[in-house]
Symmetry: C2
Subunit: 203 residues, 2 copies
DNA sequence: TTAATTATATACTAATCGATCCATAAATCA
DNA sequence: TGATTTATGGATCGATTAGTATATAATTAA
């Protein structure tokens, strides 16, 4: 059952991807409708608003698309086939690798695209902030699992340790934006992960 | 010898501070001239452009002001009265304390206010990026000093270790923006700093 | 063939953007 | 006093912002 009406001249799915890349590079507020429509296939304003409700609605779609593609690098947090330590280390290395890939904007869209914005757009900031919270929760679950299975001592301060790893992970975005190469970040991760063994033997 | 001409009706110095706070909160592009003029004492457009050359020039002044006030928390990197480890630990704790102070915007202006911007404004991004580079260099000098004095082994990878601490420090900005309280970050710093001893005994 | 549906192109809106012009006010200097 | 200097208020600039109105084109369903 094909849908009725005049067919869309552009690929909506591909348009979302291109919009995502632009939001990733420039952030929400710095990206204009004119720029968006250009990269989305030189579509008209009418076509844009017919296919997407608003700039904000498109941003939400772009964020979701990011989470389901590039943002998947943090999925290892929830990989029960890995030990918690392996899960975190894998996530950090995948994150660094992805964020320094020159095939797309550097850093993380969720961390960079809307951390600052005008007061009237605080609800925009919340869109990405919510995703950061979700990721942090999965990191925390991963650490909790390590405590539950005895890999880390029962005395471990889960909240504190989550902050240690979350802080480092978010810092990778700025490092990547500033051009620090993957190899350097990767070596830094190797050193950073040694914290795990310290926690392990701090009972 | 008082200067000639009609006296300025607003406090230029205080106006820069208020502009700095607004750039800090909202970022460069999200902050409009209208908002700036409002917080700078409800000054007119003519007064603004007479006292400051442009929005960009004001931003540069605001960045300098930040570096000479709130940004001073990283000065400990260069405090030779402290051991390198103390210098870094002091800087991290001061940074966390400052960035979570509710008396002003959270996080770091240098990290947050211009990491993303429209393509035409890439030179704006460079203003803050240059400051991040300077801070990183002072952190690196601090670590180099530890190697030179023998506090860290001669085999230490200074570049890598600088990345470890710089990444964590920059991550504090997003943590602060997301409302993580000082106490939590402070405890995370305690755990994070244990890396130092690992490097010390990794010869 | 006609109706219904959907997307299109084009023109346009009101608001805001950073920045400028100009006449005038308020100070010092001679 | 009168000349010089600087800052002011207020109007305005062209460009750009996100978003809309309208008429038409292109498809499917009946």
């Amino acid at each position: 059952m094909a849908r009725t009406g005049r067919p869309r001249i552009f690929d909506r799915d591909e348009a979302v991807v291109q919009a995502m890349l632009l939001f990733w590079e420039q952030g929400f507020e710095a990206t204009s409708l004119l720029q968006l429509r250009a990269v989305m296939g030189d579509i008209s304003a009418a076509s844009f608003y017919a296919a997407f409700e608003s700039k904000e609605a498109l941003y939400k779609e772009a964020v979701e698309r990011y989470m389901n593609t590039f943002g998947r690098v943090t999925k290892s947090f929830s990989d029960l086939a890995l030990s918690p330590k392996e899960a975190i280390e894998t996530t950090l290395r995948s994150t660094a690798k992805m964020q320094t890939d020159s095939a797309h904007p550097s850093g993380c869209l969720i961390v960079l695209s809307a951390t600052t914005c005008s007061s009237k757009n605080n609800h925009i900031r919340d869109i990405a902030a919510e995703k950061r919270k979700l990721t942090r929760n999965r990191l925390q679950d991963c650490i909790r699992r390590a405590v539950d299975t005895g890999e880390l001592p029962a005395s471990t301060d889960i909240h504190m340790l989550t902050t240690v790893f979350d802080t480092f992970m978010q810092g990778i975005s700025t490092q990547a934006r500033d051009g620090v190469p993957f190899e350097t970040i990767d070596q830094a991760i190797t050193k950073f992960m040694e914290i795990w063994n310290l926690v392990r033997h701090s009972a």
